[in-house]
């Protein structure tokens, strides 16, 4: 029994151990240099990532409130990998920061919250995990302590997430009112699509849409992404979005399975809006972080398309896409973060002529953008192709054609950045930057991820076998 408590919750225990270790370091009066600390923490995170692959135990705990299976283990490993990469690319920024330990304590707490959230089998634990992952996140959005924009971002984030949590909670209470239960497995058979349940679902969907920044619930995204430190933006746009999507998959595919027709059409309209508006706004951005914010909104629209399949392929394609999206987006944010930490430049115009001075970083950024745009041979091509393919499964070709045409728009704005880097002339380009070892490691991991995840089909096949639908 004790064994079970330990191994089923292993990923969570690992994080708790690290968080407490960092807390002790903080409380102790040790006066370590930032570099030493950062290297130490990154090694801890690497260990955490590696341990995640071994001696996992599947099963349920606390009478089904918490459960763990092969797919969840994979998802947690993906999140662990993402956090490790975020931590690597945050190095140039954190090196000069005076609150490194606090940053990591808050960061890992949000991750812990996400783990509980995706493992939950009960709406209460789900809500608890969600809040645990949101509130510390707002705190670290404020971590550029001397920038007003950073505080503004944190404020906007905490207000909008409070609002979305309220919607979610209202949905949860309506579910409880109509079915008399909060346990996922008990709710499902009692769902019959009655108006009240439909309202409950819409409220839940709205809450989720806020977190995933689906249009028309996206308004906070760009401002928060712009104001927050780059590493936090990267974390928000990749890790926390992936975690929300993982649990959203479970909610749609397992809990709300009886209401498939209803949610299919809701996703349809949300996705059309999201793709279109995300793309149109992304075209007009001049700040790279805002640009990536809108592009990531558009990406969510594509994810919804794959999600709509409601099948094993749909589930696999979404998880697979998120894995690739993690590599691509983190590579892009890594380069932008490095440049921003050293020179403070973040706009597309500043990146003109970037290739002349920094060829390696330029290629990393360009390949990341190609991967986001879905151009082969990068993995993004496979990710997007499978999403659209899953979406076509139900024969809704209006949606497929719409998505395909929107890929051209998205191609335009990604290429615009590539054009600035490679082709435009600039009298004062960003000077030659030395890439520290840790971010370099992150870039190499991301590059190999962006190339190999696509060509090596067994990664997709593995995800497909795990997709429990």
């Amino acid at each position: 029994m004790l064994n079970e408590y330990f191994f089923v919750l292993k990923a969570e225990w690992m994080l708790i151990a690290i968080i407490f270790l960092l807390l002790f370091l903080k409380v102790g009066t040790s006066d370590w240099k930032n570099e030493t600390l950062l290297y130490g923490i990154n090694i801890l995170l690497l260990v955490n990532l590696l341990v995640g692959f071994f001696s996992n135990l599947e099963g349920g705990l606390f009478s089904g409130m918490f459960h763990n299976d092969a797919l969840l283990i994979l998802e947690k490993n993906i999140l662990n990998l993402g956090v490790y990469l975020v931590s690597l690319i945050a190095y140039p920024w954190l090196k000069k920061h005076e609150h490194v330990l606090e940053f990591y304590i808050l960061l890992l707490t949000t991750l812990l919250g996400m783990f509980f959230m995706i493992s939950s089998g009960n709406l209460l634990l789900f809500y608890l995990g969600l809040e645990m992952s949101t509130i510390p996140l707002a705190a670290i959005a404020n971590f550029d302590l001397d920038k007003r924009k950073s505080s503004e971002a944190a404020m906007k984030m905490i207000i909008s997430s409070a609002f979305s949590s309220a919607l979610l909670l209202f949905g949860v209470s309506l579910i409880y009112g109509t079915t008399g239960s909060l346990v996922f497995t008990e709710i499902t058979p009692l769902l019959n699509g009655s108006p009240l349940q439909l309202l409950a679902f819409i409220l839940l969907l709205a809450g989720f849409s806020f977190k995933m920044s689906v249009v028309p619930f996206h308004l906070w995204t760009a401002d928060v992404y712009e104001g927050a430190p780059v590493a936090v933006t990267a974390y928000l746009s990749v890790i926390s979005k992936s975690a929300i999507l993982f649990i959203f998959l479970q909610v749609l595919y397992v809990v709300f399975k009886p209401m498939t027709t209803e949610w299919y059409f809701m996703l349809f309209f949300l996705s059309l809006l999201t793709i279109l508006l995300g793309n149109l706004f992304a075209m007009r951005q001049t700040n790279l972080k805002r640009f990536l914010a809108f592009s990531s909104i558009a990406q969510v629209g594509f994810i919804l398309l794959g999600l709509s399949a409601g099948s094993k392929t749909g589930m696999a394609s979404v998880i697979y896409f998120l894995l690739i999206y993690l590599f691509s987006n983190l590579a892009a944010f890594g380069v932008i973060g490095l440049v921003s930490a050293i020179t403070g430049k973040e706009s597309i115009d500043d990146f003109k002529g970037f290739y002349k001075t920094n060829p390696f970083l330029s290629w990393v950024l360009a390949i990341a953008l190609f991967s986001l745009a879905g151009v082969p041979p990068t993995a993004g091509f496979f990710g997007k192709f499978f999403l659209i393919m899953a979406g076509a499964e139900k024969g809704n070709y209006v949606w497929v054609i719409f998505a395909a045409l929107n890929m051209i728009i998205s191609f335009y704005y990604y290429l615009k950045v590539v054009k600035a880097i490679f082709m435009d002339q600039n009298d004062h380009p960003i000077e030659k930057l030395t890439v520290p070892a840790l971010p370099k490691l992150a870039f190499i991991i991301c590059l190999s991820g962006m190339v190999l995840t696509g060509i090596l089909s067994w990664i997709y096949e593995y995800i497909h076998t795990l997709s429990n639908f």
Binding site: V375, P376, A392, A404, M407, I408, V418
Partner: protein, 501 residues
Amino acid sequence: MNLTLFLLFPLATAIAILMASGLKQIRVIALVGSLLQLALSGKLLLAYYEQRAAGNQSQMLFEYVQKWYGPLNLQYHIGVDGISIAMILLTAFVVVAGILVSWETEQLSKEFFFLLVLLSLGAYGFFISLDVFTMFFFLEVAVIPKFLLIGIWGSGKKEYSAMKLALMLMGGSALILVGMLGIYFSSKTAGGAHSFDLMELSKMNIPLARQMLFFPFAFIGFGIFTAIFPFHTWVPDGHASAPTAASMFLAGISMKLGGYGCLRVATYLMPDAAHAYSWVIILLATIAIIYGAFATMMQTDLKYINAYSSVSHCGFVLLGIGMLTQTSINGAVMQMVSHGLMTALFFAAIGMVYSRTHTRMVAQLGGLLKIMPFISTVFVIAGLCSLGLPGFSGFAAEMTVFMGSWQNPDKWYRLATILACASIVVTAVYILRAAGKSIMGPLGNDSYKDLTDAKWYEKSAAILLIFGILVVGMAPFWLINLIQPGTEFIINKLAVVATGL
């Protein structure tokens, strides 16, 4: 014979280029790599003859299937027939010539040759694939190198042209994506799964309504790559702004990807729809031929002249495919080969002139024959081939298209054929005018006196391409015999439908 070598060679070349340092090393590696490719394609041709002589009648030779994405039934399926071999040979010729022509690229030479090799990798991969997904993959692999090649090393309004080209080609890809998903979800293999496999798909009949819906997507999607009217606008800008080698690759290889796709994917897999829509294809092709020819007349820039004439010439490819007779489809394939060689030669000649005189305006040139006899001769040969002089490949190919088209008894189709034929006169006008003005007559500028004739690498590139043009022109039956078995399968599938309707 292992066809995967066609991917491994360019890959190895590309990696070697990344390792190398200095222009001298890089260009030698690129040249050796491309020559090895050429040798490999020659070997493929011989192996093909050997198999056919031994009585192997199967549609595709040297097939190899490897499961790729198991749950989705995607495969890495490769194999070749005569049509693909003709295209592979064309690619190999143009790649060698393109690399020779870029011998002195100083600016970012490593990236330049790397991208050229990557582009050729995409083309080879596309031509050997027998799985629509793999084809699509390689088709798109070739898009980004074009964008970068034009945008970085180009001239004139290069950023605009690069963006236009990339977006229009991506638009084509998006249409193809819809079309191929339509095919995929209409298919059902013996095991009940969907399939992208070209050979499997050719054995089943896609329901008529589905064909009518998805044929336009697939055909126009591939058509954009081969400059179908009214989606040809990327061609002039893209070609004119591109550096010489990229223009050669674009017109010589990349536009052929589209023609091949139209034939192999759209027409072959959806024959009912091909019959139903053939009048649209012919209409668009005829417009492209005539409009392209007249638009060329108005051009003053040599590269624009060749680019617009490419629109016109690629119209013949689509016309041949749209006519749906065996001779016309043979002609379409021949026209692809012929146009690929001819236009690559033309762009090479223009590039040689431009690198010396620094102008491409016909009005500013003149009297080049006296100063650079070799380049001028190449220029004239390319021009004569383009206007279809007997003895050169252009004549053989266009003649075959016309003969095949005339076999179609419908009076409107014959009208289209006549109109297309008439465009040759216009072609003669603009070619002769451009050649006459820039090569004959007094010197356009006194400073031209000190210019030198072609260097060895330029000469070898030109001679290689002229060799190809002459072989196709003098012995067209050789090419027809090569592609005939391939087109026969396509025609048989089309004929079954025609009688069944």
